[in-house]
Symmetry: C2
Subunit: 169 residues, 2 copies
């Protein structure tokens, strides 16, 4: 989409400040900024991944599998780790399977559970996609190193507060 002429968040903040004051205007601007940054980053990552036949959610699932010892995880575990709903995991794994990047295998000990296992083609795709994302600094090279660290730290505080993970890691 073409860029907007004005910053919609700055404009919303002016409206907010005029009607409800500085205090709610500040967190409104911060939260809306995260929402919008996520949208533009997701579009950028998907553009970088398209030549590799992947979207960011599918790429995340492949990387998750590639980091496991056996290259396989139950579908439920994938959903938990990526914080996506069951139906989204099914869609992601379906598409990866159609493309030959994962295969479904039965769970050894739990016959109700299905594992997704990364294939050699999946490892190749993940490797190539990672090279492209690393090369592009994940689309975030507008920020300096210390700014990138600040983002991680600020988002971590938010994530802990929202119960994204329990540890003190």
């Amino acid at each position: 989409m073409p860029p907007l002429r004005i910053d919609p968040i700055a404009e919303a903040r002016r409206h907010w400040t005029a009607r409800w004051g500085e205090e709610p205007a500040r967190p409104m601007a911060a939260v809306t900024s995260i929402m919008r940054a996520q949208q533009v980053l997701m579009a950028r990552l998907n553009d970088l991944l398209r030549p590799h036949g992947l979207t960011f959610p599918r790429y995340e699932a492949l990387m998750l599998l590639s980091f496991t010892r056996t290259g396989a995880l139950p579908l439920g575990k994938i959903g938990e780790r990526l914080q996506v709903h069951r139906t989204s995991v099914t869609n992601i794994v379906d598409k990866l399977e159609t493309d030959g990047l994962v295969r479904r295998v039965p769970h050894e000990n739990d016959r109700r559970a299905t594992l997704a296992e990364i294939t050699d083609a999946g490892r190749d795709a993940a490797q190539r996609a990672t090279a492209a994302l690393n090369e592009a600094a994940f689309g975030i090279d507008a920020l300096e190193k210390d700014e990138q660290e600040a983002v991680t730290t600020l988002m971590r505080a938010l994530r802990v507060d929202a119960g994204d993970f329990a540890g003190r890691d």
Copy 2:
């Protein structure tokens, strides 16, 4: 979903650093942190909005309309401002219309265009929902005031770089 035991981003960053070094690991962690923070915030905002019969995208559309002089905008303009695709705008406006919060009206000068116009019930719902979100500091009260400002500033740099808006505002 229950909280994870470990921070999945810290874990991914360890894997990344081991395989590809510090440099791509830093931006990977920052970008993935924004993605995940967006997920947990969206869930939190939707929880806050559910008692008011709204989701965050529908709430954003209502607020956008409420800030206009006439209370109405063409659907295409709503999509542009919210950076969502045509089909998503249609879905959002369909649901708002079903709930009596907006109505579709023909454009005065362009017969191919349709406007969404906020109703009195829509203004009431927006008002009540805003009170709830303001009260909860948009779910971001884990961050101090200066941290909230830092988020807005950092995300703004990202958004400008990604062409979210063109102005120097």
